[in-house]
Symmetry: C2
Subunit: 240 residues, 2 copies
């Protein structure tokens, strides 16, 4: 249940600043930093590897960590009192996770694929932000974007039918995994997780998928693989 720190490995690099050759150097909030700021930050962070299915912060536990996703994809989720789960966000490389500035957002962060995250203790990160206002603005922009995404998802959850929701998710996945018409992508989500994200039962998700297959707008070559053979049509279904 609890995070096993033994399974988490710390990154290397001491002489050279490891941030310089970070895979998300140009996209994450660190992009706004000067070389000096970057140097300081590099001493605060450490790389953590998480295996698929592993939780990163535990819900309702003091969320002491914040960080940037370097590789892989993770889900943010909450639960109702009686155990129903809702995924409230999917994070991709260069996305920021965690809640700076004291308060706590009560979300579980779980790796959907094997992932690498550059983490900071929140206190140290907060202090660093105070003296580097560039990063603050980067964080603000990113948070505003997240807010827009969350609100867009509210529309989906509140007003779209099951079929429309599944189509929307497939379209978004194809886009974010840079697929195209006829190009195969590998979904990072199980059917159960798709259900938890869309507010649907697993069977409902499955049925929608087979319906799309029968309509000839997607192919499902087994497992989590997906080919959108008629992306415009899928988009039309998603639109509502």
């Amino acid at each position: 249940m609890l995070l096993e720190s033994s399974s988490l490995t710390t990154g290397t690099g001491r002489a050279h600043n490891p941030c310089e050759e970070c895979s998300v150097r140009g996209d994450a909030i660190c992009a706004s930093l000067s070389p000096v700021g970057l140097e300081t930050l590099s001493h605060l962070g450490r790389r953590v590897h998480v295996r698929r299915g592993q939780a990163l912060f535990w819900e309702s536990e003091e969320s002491v960590l914040v960080g940037n996703v370097l590789e892989g994809m993770l889900k943010l989720s909450t639960m109702t009192g009686d155990g129903r789960e809702q995924i409230v966000g999917i994070v991709f490389p260069s996305d920021f996770i965690g809640r700076p500035f004291g308060s706590n957002s009560h979300h579980t962060v779980t790796a959907l694929t094997d992932a690498t995250v550059c983490v900071f203790r929140r206190g140290a990160f907060d202090k660093f932000v105070e003296t580097n206002s560039g990063i603050e603005q980067a964080l603000l922009r990113r948070t505003l974007d997240e807010l827009d995404r969350a609100r867009h998802w509210m529309l989906l959850l509140g007003r779209l039918s099951a079929t429309e929701r599944v189509a929307s998710l497939l379209v978004e996945m194809v886009e974010r995994l840079d697929g195209a018409n006829g190009k195969e992508v590998s979904l990072p989500l199980s059917r159960q997780q798709m259900g938890d994200l869309l507010g649907l039962a697993i069977e409902t998700v499955s049925r929608a998928m087979t319906r799309f297959k029968q309509m000839g707008i997607v192919e499902l070559p087994g497992g989590r693989r997906l080919i959108a053979t008629d992306l415009p049509a899928l988009r039309r279904v998603a639109a509502g």
Copy 2:
């Protein structure tokens, strides 16, 4: 001496900064400003009065304005292609509205009650923020809170039953309108709007309300008035 403050406020001499006696001075993002910053900002903003039902920015139109709510309550909403509406947020006095930094969030802002908003042209506001990093952090905190709220709402929309949703809304309304057990509050939302917020049909909302009345945990003395006679019980229903 020459200039009279025209339509907007005051009545106390022009040497005095109108922001000083603003109703949300201590709570809005302006709270973080120095007297000098406040002085500058006061020249950029103007007060706008909106009547109940009036829209403030129009969806998909270039959202040129941002601002602080001074009085009243407003809703943020989006629509599907075929006209289904979803309310994605309710804003209260001291809340910030609008999307700074270029991009556009495509939300309609409509007054739920008569309201007063302190608005800024976005370009001017953005520029002001760049030279006043205090306001940036205030905005960031506020946006992080909004994000948490939106994600909490995703749980509600994705996983709670109709009854649980309505109970949740009533609890939240009682809290934000500082009601208590047995204290009457006046809901700012019509049944239709409650439905648009909860992702439910108007009839379903109505039925849930009468069920609560029959259970003896609320009273509905007509109109939009509400008395939670057993708030703990209502909370229990909401919990799910």
